[in-house]
């Protein structure tokens, strides 16, 4: 954990899937706003939230936007520290090649260190 990108201001944990609820969208909104205010933001995808990274997402019925377009914009906001709970990936049988963005898997010990090394942790 010597990597400086892991010592950011804000850690946003995303634990909900796209479309099914607004948790993911509203969590990402906080990350974007913080980044727009020049805060260093780390995103950690856990559990069902990992499915937010899947390729091939589309708008839902009635034009429900989903969150894939927001994820595609993260780079513009200089949010490039994208971490994924390794245990959650295993549980869902997903691999990094299925994701729309490059991510780094993290184990439980690293997750605990991430929480300890960010000034603010927001859990969605």
């Amino acid at each position: 954990m010597q990597d400086d990108t892991r010592q950011g201001d804000l850690l946003v944990i995303l634990r909900h899937a796209p479309h099914g609820s607004s948790w993911l969208k509203e969590g990402l909104d906080v990350a974007l706003v913080a980044a727009a205010f020049d805060r260093r933001v780390t995103l950690l995808f856990m559990g069902e939230g990992i499915t937010a990274l899947l390729e091939g997402q589309q708008a839902g019925p009635l034009g429900q936007k989903g969150t894939a377009p927001t994820l595609a914009m993260l780079e513009m906001y200089d949010i490039d520290s994208l971490l994924v709970e390794a245990r959650g990936m295993d549980a869902l049988g997903l691999t990094g090649e299925q994701f729309m963005l490059p991510v780094e898997g993290v184990g439980d010990a690293e997750i605990a260190e991430l929480l300890a090394s960010h000034a603010l942790v927001l859990n969605f």
Partner: protein, 95 residues
């Protein structure tokens, strides 16, 4: 040292997420439905946080769980909750 609060019962997968996020000295406070985790039969789920497990008195009491609470669980009232947030550097909520 961080304070983690959990408001879901130990039958929920959210407990595993909370445990994954806990460092070796962090404390876990059970509130709301989380206090179901204070039952003796659930203590095996909290083995990794033995001695660092707390439950909110008011939420145990309102649910009829106060007298059923496992002896290893430290019961705190709302002032104790405040004190835990003072002692710990930061708080993380799992829900």
């Amino acid at each position: 040292m961080l304070l983690h609060t959990l408001n879901r019962s130990p039958l929920s997968a959210v407990l595993d997420q909370a445990l994954a996020g806990m460092g070796p000295d962090d404390r876990l406070l059970l509130i709301e439905d989380g206090v179901i985790g204070a039952l003796p039969a659930q203590q095996a789920r909290f083995e990794s946080v033995a001695g660092r497990l707390y439950a909110l008195h008011e939420d145990l009491e309102s649910r009829g769980l106060l007298s059923l609470c496992a002896p290893a669980v430290r019961v705190v009232d709302i002032e104790g909750f405040v004190a835990l947030t003072e002692e710990c550097e930061r708080a993380v909520s799992w829900y």
